[in-house]
Amino acid sequence: MTSTDPGPDRGPAGPSTPRRGISRRGVLGLSAAGAAALLGGAAVGRATAGIGPAGLGPLGGSGAGHAAPTTAYPFEGAHQAGITTPVQDHLHFAAFDLSSRATRDDVVELLQDWTYAASRLTQGLDVSATGALDGPESAPPDDTGEALDLPASGLTVTIGLGPTLFEVDGEDRFGIAARRPAALAPLPPFLGDALSTEWSHGDLCLQACADDPQVAVHAIRNLARIAFGRAHVRWSQMGFGRTSKTSAAQATPRNLFGFKDGTDNILGTEEDRLAEHVWVAPGSATAGAGDAADWLAGGSYLVSRKIEMLLEPWDRTGLGEQERVFGRDKRVGAPLSGGDEFTAPVFGDGRIDIASHVHLAHPTNNAGATMLRRGYNYVDGTNPLGRLDAGLFFLAYVNDPDTFVQVQRSLSTDLLNEYIRHIGSAIFAVPPGIEPGGWIGETLFA
């Protein structure tokens, strides 16, 4: 381990602790790195730890909207990191189911253990104080070690709670059924859905994003290991080549069809749009009001859709037809109604097909429905037919899941549907952020 542990937590997460995962006592002493980062922007990562807050902006000071490898985003804050954070290059997403024997205490301790571990990992530290190398010879190391020598790489870990955490077949599993917001329910069926439970649902989820895929995988691997016995991975997804941007400095990326999509995404700096579309407001219908306070206020809803892209048929489609399907020009991403990428599309004069993707998905044709999209391309190798098993792992944050439902219903006649299939679906409530010493989910279980 090349890092210097900056936190006061060295003791509680001692080397020989046989507890599952990381001692929850460690949560009470969340790292100073995290606290400092709240004040000074980014802290520094594994490879350069010990220098203290570096004063790098969230973009790490490098050009082209690309964060420096040493960028470490604060884990604490009003909202969880990984939503408005400038979209990192790589994703490892995992949905978990709780063990049938897990108790409410197990869930609380797991969320505390995850919070503590994530607060370290995101700062470029090993998962515990003894980490990969400083434990006893006779014990497996706490940390799996593949991120040794790697900087924080902009890692964020975002924790979500699925509908089945609250209730399964009418059973109040952990005494929180009454606090399930009505909006936190499985998405309704949509025309053309080809969903598989293999890529759908989950009691909990972890979204790990980083600019180095090894750092993202390291986070999910170690957090899953902490969960063993209490929760197990239901499904997971690796993603690369972010398909959207949340920072003006980032160029709009292209999806695997070669198009710029999501040009008009909500940016992390657009406080008004975030408040209007992303953050759940106190007292709102989706804030988790039930028998108690609005536990989800300041949080959001995460919709995941695994969308398979039928690349071979698409690649045999003429350029003009491809542009008609999207409603955009392929070269710069301008709407077919003219202008450049950022020109607002003009609908109704025939230049943009009414069944094109941009027409059907655009807020102006969906009563203003807007989502913060954070999806990634994926390639899971080759399918049994010898075709690329590839597509878009769509992630969107909204303050009301109905926003997604309305847009997705509009897309039922999308020309693009000939080339895509929705094969996975999940929804999670993403609790608000925490102050140092807190834990994700504390407002729900309080």
């Binding site: 020989s16 507890r19 024997r101 006779s138 014990a139 290991r225 063993f228 016995g229």
Partner: protein, 421 residues
């Protein structure tokens, strides 16, 4: 595995007292003449055991917890052994061996409340004779012995467990081979997974013995890869479950008949002879001083690591259905591996739970993990009533078992360091 688990909740650490009596501080043997010191009427002093070639009589079927003394007299014609076992019939709480005809030896052992079995093993082979229930009541006895003593006891008991399993493996293998050589394939198929259970419970021992495990337990793809003559259980398995034309081997690409033909009667006789010879070699080894030396050299951490090693066997081979490719009896091996793992764990359980609250919590997690895994496995059968074929497991079944193995193996991986602390 039996659902009653005195071994898990009421661990008993013992003194193996054939040659030397280890006296645990605070545990003084009761006066052999006294009886029913707690007023229950149960014996708590010396118990008389008489063993001949077919019986194993004990003077009382009940006792009070504490240090018990078994005076074992051999009135038979063969050298005999006496075992006090947990109710599961696997875990040995105490044993005394090498009791010559006409001789007597004494077993002194500290026994916690719970259900047990007593059994004698004249001839030092087979499942034993006169197996009977033995109940211990009373209060739990605090152990105050030093770690070093407990570690040596764990090693001694593990050695006894291995000897017991191999002593049953050998005659079972001989009977199985007889059926196979005689061409009674139906009976041999029924025997196959049951015979293997004795082997699978002690797999780490066999695997530590160089070329013995390859000769006894290699799959065809393993033998081919290493350029070995293919012998042992799996070679016989393929004769008993002859592949359909066009079937593929466990590598998923080699034709089952590529380099293989069903064994002739002569070949069967030779393969049977080799298997019995190899198992006999294993029997001889574990009953030799070399084995005792081997285990003592390895130390107690070899036992706790063996517990995790057996689970790894399950996680890598059995859950994928690669072990018993032709018979589909992987779940029998699975269950036996888990039993062997739990047995090894139970021997060091007290050492771990003595390490403060964290040790106790770890032991609790591990016991919960075994219970959950056993419960899930029981949905698919048992070693006594039989398991479903591996092919009948759904992907969801396999994932459930795999999740439970992960849940158990993670705390189990911390056992060694806790024991050695």
């Amino acid at each position: 595995m039996t659902p009653t688990r005195p071994s898990a909740s009421v661990p008993a650490i013992v003194t193996v007292a054939a040659a030397a009596v280890v006296v645990l501080a605070g545990c003084v043997p009761n006066n052999p003449q006294s009886s029913g010191t707690d007023g229950s009427g149960a014996a708590s002093g010396a118990l008389a055991v008489t063993s001949d070639d077919t019986t194993c009589e004990i003077s009382a079927a009940e006792a009070t917890s504490g240090t018990l003394t078994f005076d074992v007299a051999n009135s038979g014609t063969k050298v005999t052994e006496f075992y006090l076992m947990a109710a599961d019939g696997l875990r040995i709480v105490g044993e005394v061996e090498n009791i010559a005809p006409g001789a007597s030896r004494t077993l002194t052992v500290t026994v916690q409340p719970g259900d047990y079995q007593t059994v004698c093993k004249p001839g030092m082979i087979g499942a034993g004779v006169g197996r009977a229930d033995f109940t211990v009541s009373g209060e739990r006895v605090e152990l105050t012995g030093e770690d070093a003593e407990l570690k040596q006891e764990a090693i001694d008991l593990y050695a006894a467990f291995v000897k017991d399993q191999v002593a049953q493996l050998l005659p079972e293998t001989e009977a199985f081979v007889d059926l196979y050589v005689a061409g009674d394939d139906e009976a041999a198929r029924a025997d196959f997974p049951l015979v293997r259970a004795y082997y699978e419970r002690i797999e780490p021992v066999a695997e530590a013995l160089g070329d013995l495990d390859p000769r006894i337990d290699y799959r065809e793809v393993d033998a081919v890869a290493e350029g070995l003559d293919w012998t042992g259980f799996h070679r016989i398995e393929k004769d008993l479950w002859e592949p359909a034309p066009g079937a593929l081997n466990s590598d998923g690409e080699t034709d089952a008949f590529d380099g293989w033909t069903p064994s002739t009667p002569e070949e069967r006789a030779e393969l049977g002879r080799l298997l019995v010879a190899d198992v006999t070699e294993l029997y001889d080894f574990v009953h030799s001083d070399d084995f005792t030396t081997f285990l003592s050299d390895q130390g107690v951490d070899w036992i706790s690591n063996g517990a995790i090693g057996l689970l790894d066997e399950v996680a890598t081979g059995k859950i994928t259905g690669e072990e018993d490719w032709w018979s589909g009896t992987d779940l029998y091996d699975f269950a036996a591996n888990v039993e062997g793992s739990k047995m090894a764990f139970s021997l060091v359980e007290d050492l771990a739970s003595r390490k403060g609250a964290e040790g106790e919590e770890l032991v609790g997690q591990i016991n919960d993990g075994y219970a959950a895994l056993e419960e899930a496995l029981a949905e698919h059968g048992s070693l006594t009533t039989g398991f479903v074929a591996y092919s009948e497991l759904t992907d969801a079944d396999k994932k459930q078992l795999s999740d439970l193995i992960n849940a158990l193996a993670e705390p189990l991986s911390k056992l060694t360091t806790t024991v050695l602390e």
